[in-house]
Each structure stands twice: as C-alpha cells, then as structure tokens.
Amino acid sequence: MNTWIPWIIGAAVVVYLIYLYNGLVTLRNRVRNAWSQIDVQLKRRHDLIPNIVASVKGYMAHERGLFETITRAREKAVAAGSNVPARAAAEAVLDRSLHSLFALAESTPQLQASVNMLALQEELSSTENRIAFARQHYNDAVLAYNTALSTVPSVFIARAFAFQPDTLYEVSDMREREPVTVSF
C-alpha cells in the first residue's frame, strides 16, 4: 500500500507538468493565430487601396503627392512581411495617409454627393475597425502568453523548454500618431 503513494504523487506531478506545457503551447498558438488574423485584415486593406485611389483620383487630381505617399507606404508594408516592428511602422504611415485622404475627401462636395463614396467609406472604416480589433486581439493574446511565461508555476516550464516572449504590436513613436499634414 505504502509503496504506491510515491508513484501516485509522481504520476500526478507529471500530469500537472504536461498540463502546464500544453497550456503554454495553446497560448503561443493563439498568438500566432492572432497574428495571422492581423495579416489577413492588413491584406484586405492593401487590396482596397487601389480601389479607393482609383475612385477618388478623378475628383482630387491636385493631391498627387498624397496618392504617391499612399502607394509607397503600401508597397513598404507589403515588403515588411511578418517582421512585427517594421510592419507596424509601415502600416502606421499608411494609416495616417489614409486618414488624411479621407479628411480631404470630406471637404470635397462632389465626392460627398456620390453614393459610391459612402459605401467605400463604410468599407474603409470597417477595415480600420477590423485591423484595430485584430491588433487588440493579438495584443491580448501576447499579454496572456507573456504573463504566463513570467509567472509561477509556468515560468519553470517556459525556461526548461525555451519559450520566447512575443512582441506587442504597437505604434512605436508618439509622433507617428499624428495625422500627416497636407499642404495645399
């Protein structure tokens, strides 16, 4: 009878360790999945941009500089791939130039009159929301994962199996949050 007790305790400990390890793997996969969601939504925006540029260009021919900024930012973002900080910076530039474009579009009466524009605006603001939510979901997942990596008891498993913390998706520079100023 007594010889069984250490075995039972040992088995319980092993089961608990497996449980902790699986928990960490689940959290890490959630982070990866969340990242791929951001990727999907950013691609959606990239696909939408040529559309937007084409439909407003006719009304706003004098804003060639802004269109070029948008196109270049888009190319840069596509090139950054899945390098989180570089991608975040490139997408931030794209973000700001699109906002400037829409601020301009709102002050162009011919554009406001067109129903097509309203639909386009809805698509763009929905895309913005999707990106923001995907980013929020990614950051929540990273937070949960990183917290698990650095708290007892899972910190021991994380050290033993060399789990690496992930980076939050954030706008790195305060200045980048300001909209691009457009000169007339």
């Binding site: 969340a34 939504q41 939510f133 995907a134 979901h137």
Partner: protein
C-alpha cells in the same frame, strides 16, 4: 483639487472597476450560482430518485429476464434479477421498520433507534441518482442539436441583403466583432420587425446565429450596434449556450422520469417517448430534438396533471378506463405528488439561483463586450435606448430569455421556470449602471440605507410565513419520498422475486 474650477470627482465613476475585475467577479458568481442550482437540483433529485431508483431496478430486472429468455447465461441472469428483487425487499423492510419506530405510541428511544437506521436507507436512492446523472449528461448532449430553428422560423428571419447600406454595415460589424473575439463570424439573420432587439442562438461558437431586428438598425448608431453585437458574441464566446443546456437538461431528466410514469395515464406521454427515441436514434437535425424536448418537459407542467384527470373523467369508455386503471391508483397518486413537488420546488427554491445564474452570465457578457470594444459608453447608451424602445419581437416570446431586451414579466418558456424569483434578465438600467462603473458615463449606484431598512422590516414580517411555507413543503416532500419509495420498492421486490 479643483484646478480649473471643476471638482475632479465629477469625471467618471468613483468606484471604477476594470473589465478584468468585473469578469473575474461574474465568473466567481457563475460558480456560486451553479453550486446553488446543483444543490437544489440534487435535493429535487432525491425526490425523483425515490421513484426512479425502484423503476431502474425494475427495468434492469426486466432486461435480465429478457436476456435469460433469449438464452444468454440464463441461470446467472435469473439469479441476479432475484438478488435485485431481494435487495429492494430488504430496503422496503428497512423503511417499514423505520416508520414503525417513528410511530407515536412508542417513546423517544424508539424514535432515536429508527433515526439511526435512516442512513442505511440512503443506498436505496443511489440507483436513481446515478441514472439521473447519466441521463443529465445524455440530455445535455442531445440538446446540442437544438439550434432554435423553431424560433428562427417563427420570426421569419432572413439573410441580410448586402445591397442595403444598413444591412451591409451590420454584416461588417459582425465580422469585426468576431475578429475582436477571435471567433469564426456567426451567421447573421435579420428579422423584419420594428421592435429593437437582438439575440444569439445555436449550440456553440462554431454554429452560432445572430438574430437582429430591423428596428435595432433604425434605433442605434454604428457604435451602439457594434456594442450590442459584441455583447452577443461575448455571450457565445463565454459558453452561455453550454450553461443554458446544463440548466435545461435538469428539467429534461425530471420530465423523462415523469413521462415514463405517466405512460398508463396519458396518451401524449407515449408520443413524447416515441419522439425522444426517434430524435436519439434516427431522426437527424434540430427540429426533432426541439419537439421531443418540448414534449418531455410537458410532463412536469400542470397541464399534464389536467390531462391525467381527463383520462379518468372524459371521453368514451371512461368507466372502463377507470376499472382498468383502478389497480394503478396508488401509482397515479405518487405521480401527481411528484409533479406537485417538482412544481413547488421550482416555484419557491430553484428559481432563485437559476435566474441569478443567468443574470450573472448577462453581466459577464457585458463586461466581455467592453473588453472587445473597449467602449463601455456605447454599450451603455445602446442598452438605455433598448430599455426605451425595445420589445421582444412577435414569435420570440417562447425563448425571450435569449434576447438582449427580455420582457420583465413573461411567463412562458424558460421564464416560467424561474418561479417567483426575480427576473431572468437583469434590468437594462442595472446593467447600464454596471457599465458606468466600468468607465461608461458618470452614473453610479449608491447603497440606500432606506431600502435596506425596508427589506429588513419586510423580512421580519414575512419570516413566520416563510417558516411555515418551508415546513409545509418539507413535510410534503418527505411524504412524497416515503410514499414513492414504499410503492416502488414493494412493486420491484414483488415482481422480481
């Protein structure tokens, strides 16, 4: 403190709560209320087990006899069946011994001796409790197939028209919120009614459906619609469907045993049993499960007792039926008492934790919605607008608890099970003030000493009445248990030995 002429405490609520803390609080509340429900359901389970236990033994014995007749180890099967009968007989002897011991004419030592033997009797409930537990798991699984298609049909819900700007926007919103929650986007259906309301139906996050009325789109702006959709998706993601199934399965188990006992007295019990077996074995899809669950649950409703009454008093051959069913008169008494007990317990005791559990889940979904949108203000203003112009859409009354705005005093469907307890849904104003605590707006709920004194006085006046009520219900329950057990064990031991 008032640097520019404005007191600082006018910004935001003083007792600000983060949505993480609110969620943790509501999750703890869920466990507490679930424990309360479990305890009361177990107490009710003992009443059911008093008749279900002997019934299980009888069915097991019958199956053993069948096996023996078919030639599978006949000697062993018959021996086991007889042993089961003897076991039931021994429990019956124990029960009658205890009742004799409690007889008025004998004194205290005899009472004491009888009471000390009571724990031995508890094993008589074990078969019924085990069967109840297994059936509960089974019904929970079966109810997974219930996708509320009756509700969708009754509401005439339709897919969104993506050419309509409002509906296009709504379908965008649903996809946005699904991304925020990290869930697959639920199916979206629109209801062409002016009442502003929305609901989530389904069995899990994999096959959830959102029902949104046109009235909601006309009443709320984009941010508010987003908040309401976030509440529904949060409810789906938190697993409220599973919570709901667990609650409904309790009623299904009780209904199932009473349907079996109703078989001699009620023709619709045969229909219910047939529908249940068909839904389990060969009829696929949601609709057969909905119909079977509805029929099974009827066994615990007052109309089934009325139907039993009619069996004896109305229709052709009523006298013949009376004569044929006369030997079963004791069984009928037990069945009617069991139904009465279940109704009384649901009315007075089970309703409270049940309604509280569902309300806690609503608050939990609210704070999860805040986590998804990071915008407590828009959910708060959406709820306040729904409080003004919301209503349960026509056709949704039977499942009104699924809607964001449920009528306060609806007595059908799940709401009927809450008995005299508080509403199954928290009031939208109470929810709005919880959201205010999470940062939306500046209102906060304050403790009002006048209300506390009022409740205390009311409690003092009512406590003797409540005491009498509890005593009466307790005696009735005890009587039902003893009568059910005595009848069941006698019949089981008589047939099997």
């Amino acid at each position: 403190m008032s640097a520019n002429g404005m007191a600082l405490d006018s910004f935001g609520p003083l007792d600000r709560v983060s949505f993480h803390d609110e969620q943790a609080r509501r999750r703890r509340g869920t466990w507490r209320m679930a424990l309360g429900c479990l305890l009361i359901a177990a107490a009710m389970g003992i009443v059911t087990a008093a008749i279900a236990g002997p019934a299980v033994i009888l069915i097991a014995g019958g199956l053993l006899h069948l096996a023996a007749w078919a030639g599978i180890e006949p000697a062993y099967c018959l021996q086991t069946a007889t042993a089961l009968g003897h076991w039931a007989g021994s429990k019956m002897d124990l029960l009658s011994g205890i009742i004799d011991g409690l007889d008025d004419k004998v004194g205290w030592p005899s009472y004491w001796a009888a009471l000390r033997r009571t724990p031995e009797l508890l094993t008589a409930f074990v078969p019924g409790l085990i069967a109840s537990g297994l059936l509960w798991i089974g019904f929970r699984r079966l109810l997974r197939r219930d996708r509320a298609e009756d509700l969708i049909a009754a509401l005439n819900a339709r897919p969104p028209n993506l050419r309509d700007p409002e509906e296009r926007q709504l379908s965008n919103i649903v996809e946005e919120v699904a991304i925020a929650a990290g869930l697959p986007a639920p199916r979206l259906l629109l209801v062409d009614q002016t009442a502003a309301n929305a609901a989530a139906v389904g069995s899990s996050h994999k096959d959830a459906t959102l029902l949104v009325t046109r009235g909601l789109l006309d009443t709320l702006n984009r941010e508010e619609t987003l908040a309401i959709v976030a509440h529904l998706v949060a409810s789906v993601g938190n697993g409220d469907f599973a919570v709901m199934r667990s609650l409904l399965a309790v009623f299904q188990v009780k209904g199932f045993f009473l349907t079996l006992l109703d078989l001699p007295f009620r023709r619709s019990a045969w229909v219910a049993l047939y529908r249940l077996i068909a839904a389990v074995l060969w009829r696929r899809g949601s609709h057969p499960v909905e119909a079977a669950a509805h029929d099974i649950e009827r066994a615990i409703s007052p109309d089934s007792s009325e139907e039993i009454n009619r069996t004896f008093s109305e229709g052709r051959f009523a006298t013949l039926r009376n004569v044929l069913l006369f030997p079963l008169i004791l069984l009928m008494l037990v069945v009617v008492m069991q139904k009465l007990i279940i109704q009384i317990w649901t009315l007075f005791f089970l309703g409270w934790p049940l309604a509280a559990l569902w309300r806690t889940r609503r608050y939990l979904a609210d704070s999860t919605a805040v986590q998804l949108t990071r915008n407590p203000d828009s959910l708060r203003s959406a709820l306040l607008k729904l409080a003004d112009s919301g209503a349960v859409p026509t056709g949704g009354e039977s499942r009104d608890y699924l809607f964001v705005h449920a009528a306060a005093h609806n007595q059908s469907g799940f709401a009927a099970k809450r008995g005299i307890a508080d509403s199954i849904q928290p009031s939208l104003h109470a929810r709005a003030s919880r959201l205010a605590a999470q940062g939306g707006g500046t209102r906060r709920r304050r403790f009002n000493p006048r209300h506390a004194i009022g409740y205390a006085v009311l409690g003092l006046i009512l406590s003797p009445l409540i005491g009498i009520l509890v005593f009466l219900v307790g005696m009735l329950t005890l009587g039902t248990i003893v009568l059910s057990l005595a009848l069941g064990l006698t019949v089981a031991s008589a047939i099997l030995t």
